[in-house]
């Protein structure tokens, strides 16, 4: 009996090792939501399997953020905003972009009714404590608005309760959460960065350069299957929403179908390049350069990061 248990334990262990070696762990940078619809689709529809990549999606936790999982080699790929990627490279961790999903900036500043964010000098403005909002910080300095940044965890409560004057929001996420609280959003109290010369790409698919160099083929297969997932999602938004909701429920996310539907619609729009009206899935050198310069000028980077540093090959 005892021997049976030991041999069973040995079997399990070897199996897990084998699994760990073959598995391709992908960790999106946030909890499950429509922002990552293309990846869920690629997994659910078997695009990864078709490509011969055994992908597992592991969402980040409080103790393990996406970037820490990459750094710790626990995940092979993650999504990052371009500004985040620049910071990480500046920190000395070479990473490469293998697929760019966002072609446009989705960040907005929302003020109270009747207020204009551009006229609220020195206002208390909410910002994610998870590390997004670099472009906003640059803009605050560029435009001499000198916002007082108030980090928030993951809700819009500070803004609703009146504790802060304005808040940063993603047009696909917090923007709708704010609408859901019953506040009125219009052209005056909503500042959209892409409309004001700060149209800098956001979400893209990244992995360490080290991993990339050693698993180029797998990386490209993964990127291509992911791209296929996004294309399918764009063609089949209703079925995609069902898939998203499956992940949302599996992860007990405090959201609802309507919010996810709105988020999916917005994310799919962000896939389309504003200039050539197509989904091109690549980083734009001009945007990389603009982001790098902005962040460098505002002291967020120790040096300008070149486009080539982000690009595979």
């Amino acid at each position: 009996m005892k021997r049976f248990i030991i041999s069973g334990a040995i079997f399990c262990f070897t199996f897990l090792i084998a699994q760990a070696q073959d598995k391709f762990i992908f960790t999106p940078q946030w909890t499950a939501q429509a922002q990552f619809a293309g990846y869920y689709v690629a997994l659910e529809k078997g695009f990864y399997k078709d490509a011969g990549v055994d992908v597992e999606i592991v969402h980040p936790s409080i103790t393990q953020s996406a970037i820490s999982r990459i750094r710790d080699n626990k995940s092979q790929a993650t999504t990052l905003q371009l500004a985040q990627a620049l910071e990480i490279i500046d920190d000395g961790i070479p990473i490469v972009n293998i697929l760019q999903t966002s072609m446009n900036n989705a960040m907005v500043i929302v003020s109270r009714r009747g207020q204009n964010p551009l006229k609220q000098v020195g206002a208390k403005v909410g910002i994610w404590n998870a590390g997004f909002g670099q472009i906003a910080q640059c803009m605050s300095k560029q435009e001499n608005l000198n916002y007082q940044w108030v980090p928030f965890a993951n809700s819009v409560n500070l803004f609703i309760s009146g504790a802060i004057d304005a808040t940063l929001a993603m047009s696909y996420n917090e923007y709708y959460q704010l609408l859901q609280t019953g506040i009125e959003l219009n052209e005056t109290n909503v500042y959209r960065f892409y409309n004001h010369g700060y149209n800098i790409q956001e979400d893209g698919l990244y992995m360490t350069r080290e991993y990339y160099e050693s698993h180029k083929e797998q990386a490209m297969l993964f990127a291509e299957a992911s791209r296929r997932g996004w294309e399918w999602a764009a063609e089949n938004p209703e079925e995609t929403l069902e898939i998203v909701m499956k992940y949302v429920q599996m992860n007990h996310i405090a959201t609802n179908r309507i919010l996810q539907q709105l988020m999916l619609d917005e994310v799919l729009k962000l896939l389309v390049d504003r200039e050539n009206k197509r989904r091109i899935y690549t980083l734009r050198p001009d945007m990389v350069e603009q982001a790098s310069n902005l962040m460098f000028e505002n002291g967020m980077l120790s040096r300008p990061i070149k486009y080539e540093e982000l690009i595979a090959e």
């Binding site: 965890a153 809700s155 609280t181 919010l259």
Partner: protein, 783 residues
């Protein structure tokens, strides 16, 4: 479409009216009831809501008081960080209802404690654990419960949240926190005290409010998120505004904003497709709002059940009414239907169909009685009608016979005298009714044509009887009376006597001496005849006199004229000029005269032709109109052509019987000259002698001398002996025929003589001309 029966129509009207009254009454009743139910519901729900809010507020107040009581201790013992664990723990110990308590400080507030220092105690089913909770994975500085009082600078409640500290302890439940900023004597913020309450308890308390079976409670936070809701898919995940993101709903949005802004009230709106009443009230100073959603069906469920029951009862009642009324009315009208069938049967001719007697004395009873009375009357009337018809038939038959008799009385063989060349007659009578009052007649006696035409006043049977009498009198009287005025006078006298019926007759009587063409005539109120002859056409001049029967002893005037050969005397009754067409225009005399002229110009003298032409002219004029009066026409054409006198002699004698032999000789000579044989000569001698002797004996008074002249004329075919005297007027022809059956002694004087003359001579005529008696005796010459 078949007409509905009276009972159905009446019942439908009654039921419709009753239905309208019900609708009106129930409408008012339902409306008022609904108002009352609504008011009651508002009071009931509001009361429940108030009670619950009060209970919750009491707890919340307890939390605040506990916090305030600890607040000052913390500020006093800032020199002893570890004492914070004690205060944190003591709050829970003193208030078992509390779930947790954090006393958290700004980064590096206590230099020796580093970045994080937050004393946190957690009550897990009475077991209280206390730890320092801050770490890299639980950066409480970014937590709402820490930041809100700091940023707002006053105590506040957080939105419900799920706390999770991966490297510490945390409540497994959703919690709400009352948090208060900690500030030093310089009013500088240095930390937050946060006291947690399990949302579960709050949720249970609020959910327990259930004023109606299907009502439920909700609580929304400042952001509209549901923190209490029976639907777990909405709880924490959705806000009251979520559905409005994809489909505008101003009612829901309005409710959300009202609740968010701390208003209290009641709204009626559609929630998840159901009509609901929502009662809402803010929860103390938390910024949250509690609402009770009551489906209208719950509130008005009893009311609707009542309505349905009443409407059901009313409908069933009305249907029953319809059936019962229909039945009752139909039942009451059954005698009427039966009566109708029986009336139809009677109408079809079966008059003996028995009408069922209806006992009740109501309208139908009266109608029934009237019908039965009517039936009896009809039967009786029909019986009478039958008798009348039979009588009428009999009378008709009799009238027909009377007509035949009347017609038979009239001359009907035309031409009446085919053997004669001196006269042609045609007559025609068309009565307006079965029998008529017109008459005409003619006959020849002693070579004289006696004729008459008359028109009795009035028509029909009385007139016909009068006509018959008149005609009979004419025949009787003219049999021995040759003078028209005498004939009429005698008829008049006879008819005027005992004329109680005041009837009269217009009459024209003419006597045409055929050998001479001299016509004597008398008119009693009749229309003047028309003469149509070679020289022209025109009315015969007549004295009108009086109609016969009007006045006895009236002196009728005698008139005379000479009728030229070929002339036709056209006689008619007033049925001719007074014939009417449909416009009641009359034919008039002028048309008659015009037609006569026309006939004359065309030389139409034949009686038959004249009457036919007159008849067709009248028919053409009258057209479709009924004949208004009897129409009688009589036409007499005198066709005598006088032959040339070849032989003529005259002998005048005194009234002396001795002169008789001279007469005999004269007669013998005449007879010989004209070729009579011996026997005829003797007979002529006898007849002339008889007539002359008669004159000699009686014409002159005894002892007076008078002459008697005998003129003899012969034309070769007949010999006329004209005996003329100027003595006493005497008409031997007026003597009645001799009754030869009597003995010679019994016979009147002269009677046998005139009989002898009539036997011998072919024609005998008497006239009184210029004070002389002129007796003409004619004997045809045998060839």
């Amino acid at each position: 479409m078949k007409q509905k029966s009276l009972s159905t129509r009446l019942s439908i009207w009654i039921v419709l009216l009753a239905g309208l009254i019900f609708i009106a009454a129930l409408g008012v009743f339902f409306n008022e009831s609904r108002k009352a139910v609504r008011l009651e519901a508002i009071q009931h729900a509001t009361q429940s809501l108030d009670n619950t809010i009060q209970r919750v507020t009491n707890i919340l107040t307890q939390v605040k008081v506990a916090t305030d009581n600890t607040d000052w201790l913390i500020k006093r013992h800032l020199d002893a960080p570890d004492s914070m664990f004690v205060y944190s723990r003591r709050i829970l110990e003193n208030n078992p209802i509390l779930n947790g308590c954090s006393v958290a400080f700004e980064p590096f507030f206590f230099k020796d404690r580093g970045l994080y220092f937050s004393a946190y105690s957690l009550n897990t089913n009475g077991l209280i654990q206390t730890i320092q909770e801050g770490n890299d994975y639980y950066q409480y500085f970014s937590m709402d419960w820490y930041q809100l009082p700091k940023l707002l600078d006053h105590p506040c409640w957080t939105e419900p949240f799920s706390d999770f500290n991966p490297q510490g302890i945390s409540s497994p439940d959703m919690i709400i926190s009352y948090c208060k900023p900690l500030k030093d004597e310089n009013d500088v913020f240095f930390g937050t005290i946060s006291v947690d309450l399990s949302l579960e308890w709050l949720s249970k308390t609020i959910s327990a409010v259930k004023p109606y079976p299907n009502s439920y409670s909700i609580m929304i936070g400042q952001g509209g998120t549901f923190f209490v809701h029976p639907d777990t898919t909405k709880l924490f995940y959705q806000s009251i505004f979520t559905p409005t993101l994809i489909k505008a709903d101003t009612a829901i949005a309005g409710l959300g904003h009202a609740m968010q802004t701390g208003q209290e009230g009641m709204r009626q709106l559609t929630v998840d497709g159901e009509d609901c009443y929502v009662f809402y009230k803010p929860l103390d100073d938390t910024g949250w709002s509690v609402g009770i959603v009551c489906p209208a069906m719950d509130i008005f469920g009893g009311y609707y059940r009542l309505i349905n029951a009443i409407i059901g009862i009313v409908i069933v009642g009305l249907l029953l009414m319809l059936m019962i009324f229909s039945g009752i009315i139909s039942n009451h009208l059954e005698p009427l239907v039966e009566l109708s069938y029986q009336a139809e049967t009677i109408a079809s001719g079966r008059f003996d169909e028995e009408i069922t007697e209806y006992k009740h004395n109501d309208e139908i009873g009266k109608l029934n009685e009237s019908f039965r009375y009517m039936q009896q009357s009809i039967v009786r009337q029909i019986e009478e009608l039958k008798q009348v018809n039979e009588q009428k038939g009999r009378i008709q038959g009799e009238l027909k016979i009377a007509r035949d008799i009347q017609m038979a009385m009239l001359p009907k063989i035309f031409p009446p005298y085919p053997d004669r060349d001196d006269i042609d007659v045609f007559g025609q009578l068309t009565p307006a009714k079965e029998v008529g009052g017109d008459l005409f007649d003619f006959f020849i006696r002693d070579e004289k044509l006696f004729f008459c035409i008359g028109d009795v006043s009035g028509k029909g049977v009385p007139a016909s009887l009068y006509m018959v009498v008149t005609k009979a009198l004419f025949r009787t009287i003219s049999a021995h009376e040759s003078s028209p005025e005498k004939i009429i006078s005698r008829i008049n006298d006879a008819m005027s006597e005992d004329n109680d019926s005041n009837m009269f007759v217009t009459l024209f009587v003419g006597v045409l001496d055929l050998p001479t063409g001299r016509m004597h005539y008398c008119n009693a109120g009749h229309d003047a005849p028309i003469l149509i002859g070679n020289t022209g056409a025109g009315l015969l001049p007549v004295d009108s006199n009086l109609p016969v029967g009007v006045m006895a002893n009236w002196k009728f005037t005698l008139q005379e004229t000479l009728i030229d050969p070929d002339t036709t005397i056209f006689l008619y009754t007033d049925g001719l000029p007074e014939a009417e067409n449909i416009n009641h225009d009359q034919f008039e005399m002028n048309r008659t005269i015009d037609l006569a002229h026309n006939l004359q110009q065309n030389r139409v003298f034949s009686p038959t032709a004249i009457i036919e032409r007159m008849t067709s002219a009248v028919h053409e004029f009258v057209g479709e109109a009924d004949q208004s009066d009897d129409l009688t026409m009589l036409a007499i054409q005198y066709t005598k052509h006088h032959e040339e006198i070849k032989y003529q002699r005259t002998l005048t004698l005194t009234n002396d019987l001795k002169r008789v032999p001279r007469l005999n000789t004269f007669i013998d000579e005449v007879c010989e000259a004209n070729g009579f044989d011996m026997s005829s000569t003797m007979q002529i001698n006898l007849a002339i002698e008889e007539a002359v002797v008669n004159v000699m004996n009686y014409a002159y008074p005894a002892g007076t001398v008078g002459n008697v002249t005998i003129e003899v004329k012969s034309n070769g075919s007949e010999v006329s002996f004209i005996i003329i005297d100027s003595g006493t007027p005497f008409d031997p022809t007026a003597k009645p025929e001799v009754d030869i059956t009597l003995s010679a002694e019994d016979r009147s004087i002269g009677g046998l003589g005139i009989h002898l003359i009539r036997q011998i001579m072919d024609h005998i005529n008497y006239e009184r001309v210029n004070g002389r008696n002129v007796l003409t005796l004619i004997k045809k010459i045998s060839k």
